[in-house]
């Protein structure tokens, strides 16, 4: 099967007074039709910028996608002109933003906001578009859609607004939806509702989904494959199963160890309360990235080679799934040995 979206060597930089911020630095990945891809990382790692670059929504100046290709259905959408891009946005690839409070226009009713895209992209009349919009609202679980569609965004709660955003993203039958932290602003019970809704709708309609989030649990539950980003680069990629059971980059391991989990053991062998293992230090300054591996300063496993040569994404030697599993670490096999001895209770 050909990938729906292929990102090749994408570089998006911001040119600021302090210097060039390499927000996305040589990122490549692909999205298969109908799959759910997770993009995980902490704030400032470039995950949102990489998504905005795909949609060509980077504010220029100061930002600019300086290199790379984004092949959508075989066409490089970084090269086409803005009018053509506008025909793709919303129609073929749609986006769900983090802030359902600010991403809807407060002075327009939902009717206006939802029918606009349908009229524009699908060439439907006002009445047809309204009928479609009402159907969509019903589909995303908004009760009484015929009355609700005449209301303004402030009359909806956060979860309901996010449902509206999803309805809007689905309105023109896109092939790809990019959801940028879709549930970060929502409560856990509402988060569960929204994610279940997105999962079932994308499955039913065969839409590919990129979920961008910092929440490792969300990715574990909903993604098929995972990209982990750090300091503008993808540092590990694999099936969700592999990333969580056999992480092979020290940052991924650190991230998994540092979050408290509901299934975690609370005491160690001696009955002492178990401590979290934080990743020491801070993420690097994206203006002055260190030479070599950018995680080196925080890494327990760093060796001399890490200071001079930046590791590329290399296949890990043991992979328990059919998907390729790659890690940008010179010492990924050490982590494998560690994981093994830990699993056997000798670590």
């Amino acid at each position: 099967m050909d990938p729906l979206l292929e990102v090749k060597n994408l570089q998006t930089y911001f040119f600021t007074y302090e210097g060039v911020v390499k927000a996305v630095d040589d990122v490549s990945y692909e999205v298969m039709p109908g799959e759910t891809l997770g993009l995980v990382g902490e704030s400032g790692c470039g995950k949102s910028v990489s998504a905005l670059s795909l949609m060509r929504l980077i504010p220029d100046p100061p930002g600019k996608t300086v290199a790379g290709e984004v092949l959508f259905d075989g066409e490089d959408i970084l090269q086409i002109d803005m009018d053509d891009m506008r025909r793709i946005r919303g129609a073929k690839m749609a986006m769900v933003f983090q802030e359902p409070m600010t991403s809807l226009n407060p002075v327009l009713t939902l009717d206006r906001q939802l029918t606009e895209t349908i009229q524009l992209h699908m060439g439907k009349s006002r009445d047809e578009a309204r009928k479609d919009a009402v159907d969509l609202l019903a589909r995303v679980g908004i009760p009484d859609p015929e009355r609700r569609i005449r209301q303004y965004p402030h009359q909806f709660s956060g979860g309901m607004r996010q449902r509206v955003m999803i309805a809007m993203a689905l309105s023109c039958n896109p092939q790809l939806i990019i959801a940028d932290e879709p549930t970060t602003a929502l409560d856990v019970t509402i988060q569960a509702q929204i994610l279940e809704l997105m999962k079932s709708l994308t499955q039913d309609l065969g839409v590919a989904l990129i979920i961008i989030t910092h929440n490792l649990g969300v990715v574990a539950r909903y993604a098929d494959r995972v990209n982990v980003m750090y300091a503008g680069k993808i540092i590990e990629r694999g099936s969700a199963y592999e990333i969580y059971t056999n992480p092979r980059h020290p940052y991924t391991v650190g991230l998994l160890d540092s979050v408290p989990r509901l299934d975690q053991r609370l005491t160690d062998e001696e009955g002492q309360a178990a401590k979290l293992v934080p990743i020491e230090g801070q993420p690097p300054d994206l203006v002055n990235l260190p030479q070599g591996c950018s995680f080196r300063a925080r890494c327990r496993f760093a060796v001399d080679k890490c200071a001079t040569e930046a590791p590329p994404l290399m296949p890990v030697e043991v992979n328990n799934s059919e998907e390729p599993h790659v890690s940008a670490c010179w010492r990924s096999e050490i982590l494998g040995v560690q994981a093994l001895s830990y699993a056997m209770g000798t670590g």
Partner: protein
Amino acid sequence: MTTAEMPQTAATTPAEHDVLLDVRGLKMHFPVTSGILFQRAVAYIKAIDGVDFTVRRGETLGLVGESGCGKTTTGRCILRLYRPTDGQIWFNGVEIAEAKTGQMRAMRRQMQIIFQDPYSSLNPRMTAGNIIGEPLAVHGLVNNKREYRERVAELLNNVGLNPYMADRFPHEFSGGQRQRIGVARALSVDPDFIVCDEPVSALDVSIQAQIINLLEDLQERYNLTYLFIAHDLSVVRHISDRVAVMYLGKIVEVADRNAIYENPQHPYTRALLSAVPIPDPVLDAQRERIILTGEVPSPLNPPSGCVFHPRCPISTEDCSRVEPEARNVLPDHIAACINVPGYGPY
């Protein structure tokens, strides 16, 4: 206060527990006003509507719930940043719900708060040293400049910052470092009790663990008691000894940490726990999932009977009529639900 109104802790909690904070029937209703010249209350938002709990000396009580359930308001009422509408707050044997402002200021030497947002809770025009040192001056805890500087340096050290950072301004620090300043400020008066109001939710995951470990270390070193308010159930499980779950201004369940997480009794707690995904695809797929329908109702007009009944998967007809009383459904495990098989009265 007369002796007759003293809290009878022995009646509600086993005697061996040394209760530091005892909150009884706490209510906080915010008026919704209308009118141009003469503001009159047209309705009340029942942010907290009858909350009882105790915090034992040296423990961490986790207070969890979704946004708008009243957990932050509870924390602020205890510090008397709000004047409660009704109820009693006994701190160290002193009733403070009715205390005067001057009395309260003295009390705040013993009780402090760490705020959620390390960006807006620090004054951008003050240096880190002055932010941390101001309580020392306010409470007269130092005698001269030299002592002041030494104490500030010591506090910075205790929270893992360098003393030379005292002259920096908040914008020169990262989020995690700012939260450390917030912790140092709370510690400066040597309090017994700290309300931690979502202290890590604004921080990145890798930094969260640093702050949680810091709070745990400090608790051990200074024998602190925490009321840890958070919406992240995994964080609360990690740090708390006991956990109270709030929903729409009421506490629905209180128990020992392990009891809450391994054997939740109230249907809301069960749903809340099942909604949290765990970062392990294999284990997560095996877990029970309860997806609640609908949303939290408005505290302006809460449902009749049990406030959870419109969303509850096990609600019966009685639930809309009877307001469930908090009772011991298991030994030392309190839940407010009429459909949970009972143990004994509260």
